[in-house]
C-alpha cells in the first residue's frame, strides 16, 4: 500500500471510520455485501464519487443520517435500509419510516414515507408521507399535508 500513492486524509480515514461504524451498528453480512458491490463499482469512477459515498455511508452507519452539516441534519428513526446500485449507488428506505430534519434546534418530521437516497448526488427522492404541525399546536387530524413525490437536495 505504501508503495502506491494514497490520500490518507480524509479518504482513508473516512473509509476506516465507516468500517468501524458499520461494525458498531451491527451491520449484517448481506448489507456489507451490497455496500461492497457499490464500492467496487464506484472504484471504476472518479475518486470524488467514492469520497462522497464514503462520507454519506459513514453518517448513515453512525447515526442513521442522510445528510449532516453544522446546522442541519436529515435522519431516519431506524436502520432499516438497503443498498442498491442503479447507475449510481443508492440507499433505499422502506415505507413507514419517519424522516426527520433537525435544524437550529427545531425538528420537522415526515411520517410514513419511503424513498431512495443517492449519496453521490446528495439527493433524496421521497414517495408518500404526511407532514403535520402538531408541535405548533395544530391538531394533525385537521391540519396536515399529504405528500406524493418530493425531492430533498
Amino acid at each position: 500500500m505504501l508503495r502506491k500513492r494514497m490520500k490518507a486524509f480524509p479518504d482513508f480515514k473516512n473509509y476506516l471510520s465507516t468500517l468501524v461504524n458499520f461494525v458498531n451498528s451491527g451491520g449484517t453480512a448481506a448489507r456489507f455485501e451490497t455496500w461492497q458491490q457499490s464500492l467496487d463499482k464506484l472504484l471504476l469512477l472518479s475518486t470524488k464519487n467514492f469520497a462522497n459515498y464514503m462520507i454519506a455511508s459513514n453518517s448513515l452507519f453512525a447515526n442513521n443520517s442522510l445528510y449532516e452539516s453544522a446546522s442541519t441534519r436529515w435522519f431516519i428513526d431506524n436502520n432499516s435500509y438497503t443498498f442498491e446500485y442503479d447507475t449510481l449507488p443508492k440507499s433505499c428506505f422502506f415505507f413507514n419510516q419517519i424522516f426527520f430534519c433537525s435544524s437550529r434546534g427545531d425538528t420537522s418530521e415526515i411520517h410514513t414515507t419511503k424513498g431512495a437516497f443517492y449519496p453521490t448526488l446528495k439527493l433524496f427522492f421521497g414517495q408518500g408521507g404526511t407532514v403535520n404541525w402538531q408541535r405548533a399546536g395544530f391538531d394533525p387530524s385537521t391540519v396536515s399535508a399529504e405528500l406524493s413525490h418530493y425531492k430533498i437536495d
Binding site: L2, R5, A8, P10, K13, Y15
Partner: protein, 155 residues
C-alpha cells in the same frame, strides 16, 4: 494460475480428485484447472526450490490466491495439498495483521494525532469476530484499488 508438480508432469486425475473434494473452489476456477489439466503442463525446475516456496507467502496475499488459485500438487503425494490450505489461513492472518500495521504507519506519516484517534477504534473493530474474513479481504482489496487510483497524498 500457478501449478507446482515435482514430477514435472501434470496429473489430470489428481486435479480432478482434488477439485471434486474441494468445495472452496469456485466453478470458474474448476473449469480453468480442468482445462490446464488437459494441457499437460511442465513446470520449470526453479519453481521447485525451497526458497521459492518459503517466499510464496510474501508474493501472494490471500485474495490473490483466491483469484489466481495456487495449487501445490506433487505427483502421488497429497501432503502439500494440505499444506496449501493451511497456508491460506496463515497467509490471511498475516495479511490481516500487516494491513492494520501498514495502515497505522501510513496514517501516522501524514498525521500522527489523527492516526492515533482512528487506529485504536479501527483495530478493535478489525480484530473483532463481527468483522468477517470475507469483509477483511474485501477491505484489503478495496484499499489496494483505492490506493492505485488516488493521486494526491493530502488535501
Amino acid at each position: 494460475m500457478l501449478i507446482f508438480c515435482p514430477s514435472g508432469r501434470f496429473s489430470a486425475s489428481l486435479v480432478k480428485n482434488l477439485l471434486d473434494g474441494c468445495q472452496k473452489l469456485s466453478a470458474g476456477a474448476s473449469v480453468l484447472a480442468r482445462v490446464l489439466s488437459v494441457a499437460n503442463i511442465f513446470i520449470p525446475s526453479t519453481l521447485l526450490r525451497k526458497s521459492f516456496l518459503s517466499t510464496l507467502g510474501f508474493y501472494f496475499s490471500p485474495d490473490a490466491i483466491h483469484e489466481k488459485i495456487l495449487f501445490l500438487l506433487p505427483y502421488h503425494n497429497p501432503l502439500p495439498v494440505y499444506f496449501f490450505f493451511a497456508s491460506s489461513e496463515k497467509l490471511h492472518e498475516r495479511a490481516k495483521e500487516n494491513f492494520s500495521e501498514e495502515m497505522q504507519s501510513f496514517l501516522e506519516e501524514t498525521h500522527e494525532k489523527e492516526a492515533d484517534k482512528i487506529m485504536p477504534e479501527f483495530t478493535k473493530a478489525w480484530t473483532s469476530p463481527q468483522f468477517l474474513p470475507a469483509w477483511q479481504e474485501a477491505v484489503m482489496r478495496t484499499s489496494k484499488c483505492h490506493a492505485a487510483q488516488t493521486d494526491e497524498s493530502i488535501p
